[in-house]
């Protein structure tokens, strides 16, 4: 059957547009979401259909417009607010984690905050330390918000619709390298079939992207695709890796991860976010706490605990990729513990 194939950016936009047609309370605001269409194409074409009242360009004050989004959500709207780069959260974190994330609790449940905070993450294109971070674990660490991160166009649309309909605040993160942008490198696997009709992808369910019996590789967003590349390499060496896509960090499908590791007995977690105190630690802990018997020590492949370098060779050296994930899996298969574990400051394999 022939497919209706779309980039992740177009799938997100289609999800937003379909909800906006159904519900007049949904609107979008942020920097360059209007005529520009979002710098990572997340609102491309919406202004033409919905006009400037519902697709609102804002001044460069994240504190003001994210705070305004929280107020609008509490007053009955369903705003989608774009924080252009997740790296910019520093100036507006009070609005995010003290207002957006907590107002439902503080009001004893009388005020809902049905808001989507949409934001771009990730590096690998020489944009340096203030425009290349992932930071999903920072948001997932703080209670009160859902944190979701699609890896395919199909999920991008379904999770966007799910996020808009959710009565809780949802941080919807997307990796720039998965968007299918004409001006930057792309990952082919992110462009998938997208049904034309409206649908949702539920939060808190992992997706097994590749089945395997020897080692489980857990990832999120771009790292799912890097893990699939690693799995292809490993298959040529006789190692069958199972690739698990977390899809959402909050809620987190710990049971889905556990089931896979119970089958394989080995675990590698791949993450483009920083290594220490991060997603990799949370996943490994969840498995260990559940009493799953591991054949060999689990390993993490994550971003070293350093500011992201601008210069491409240095950035490439630091970024987790398919080869680093494959190497971690080989070491796990050999039963090796991480060198210097317990005293280490960085990451790698």
């Amino acid at each position: 059957m022939s497919q209706r194939r779309m980039t992740m950016a177009k799938a997100m936009v289609e999800g937003i547009a379909q909800e906006m047609r159904e519900d007049p309370n949904v609107f979008v605001m942020g920097e360059d979401v209007g005529p520009y269409g979002g710098i990572f194409d997340s609102t491309q074409g919406l202004l033409d259909e919905f006009g400037p009242e519902r697709i609102r360009d804002t001044p460069i004050s994240e504190t003001a417009f994210i705070g305004a989004g929280v107020g609008a959500a509490m007053a009955g709207s369903r705003p989608i607010v774009e924080l252009m780069f997740v790296d910019f959260f520093g100036v507006c974190m009070d609005a995010i984690y003290n207002l957006m994330a907590k107002n439902t609790y503080f009001s004893g449940g009388r005020s809902k905050v049905p808001m989507v905070l949409m934001t771009a993450t990730g590096g690998g294109y020489g944009d340096a330390g203030q425009h290349s971070q992932c930071l999903h674990a920072t948001f997932a660490h703080l209670p009160g918000m859902k944190v979701v991160h699609p890896s395919t166009a199909y999920d991008a649309k379904g999770m966007m619709i799910q996020a808009i309909r959710d009565d809780n605040p949802v941080v919807y993160m997307f990796h720039k390298g998965l968007q299918g942008l004409g001006w930057m490198w792309n990952v082919k696997g992110a462009t998938t079939h997208v049904p034309e009709e409206s649908y949702t992808v539920p939060f808190g369910e992992v997706a097994v992207r590749r089945e395997g019996s020897d080692v489980t590789i857990v990832g999120l967003g771009l790292m799912v695709h890097r893990a699939l590349e690693a799995a292809e390499t490993l298959a040529q060496e006789g190692i069958e890796a199972e690739v698990v896509d977390l899809r959402t960090l909050v809620p987190l499908d710990r049971e889905g991860v556990r089931k896979s590791v119970e089958k394989t007995g080995r675990l590698v977690v791949a993450d483009e976010d920083y290594s220490s105190y991060g997603m990799t630690a949370e996943i490994i802990t969840s498995v260990v706490e559940a009493g799953v018997s591991l054949t060999s020590p689990p390993r993490r492949v994550a971003y070293p605990d350093i500011p992201i370098p601008f210069t491409p060779p240095m950035e490439k050296f630091a970024l987790p990729d398919g080869e680093k994930i494959a190497e971690a899996a080989r070491k796990t298969m050999a039963g090796a513990a991480t060198e210097g574990a317990g005293a280490r400051a960085g990451a790698g394999t």
Partner: protein
Amino acid sequence: MTEIRIPDDLWDTEKVPEGAVSSWLFEDGEEVTEGSSVATVMAEKTEYDIPAPASGTLSIKVAVEEAVTPGTVIGTLE
């Protein structure tokens, strides 16, 4: 056989002499349906969708990042 051709008036070549194929949404040899986007072309920071002019099996003639102008045949459908 039907050619997949970049429309002659897609952009003004006096201002922007050439663009490039930025992505193929389908692989060589895959089946595509008339009207669905098969490729994107980028010229001076503007991206254009190229729809399939007919249904059929795709044969890619111009690879990603190769230069194109309005009128270029970037692929065919059998």
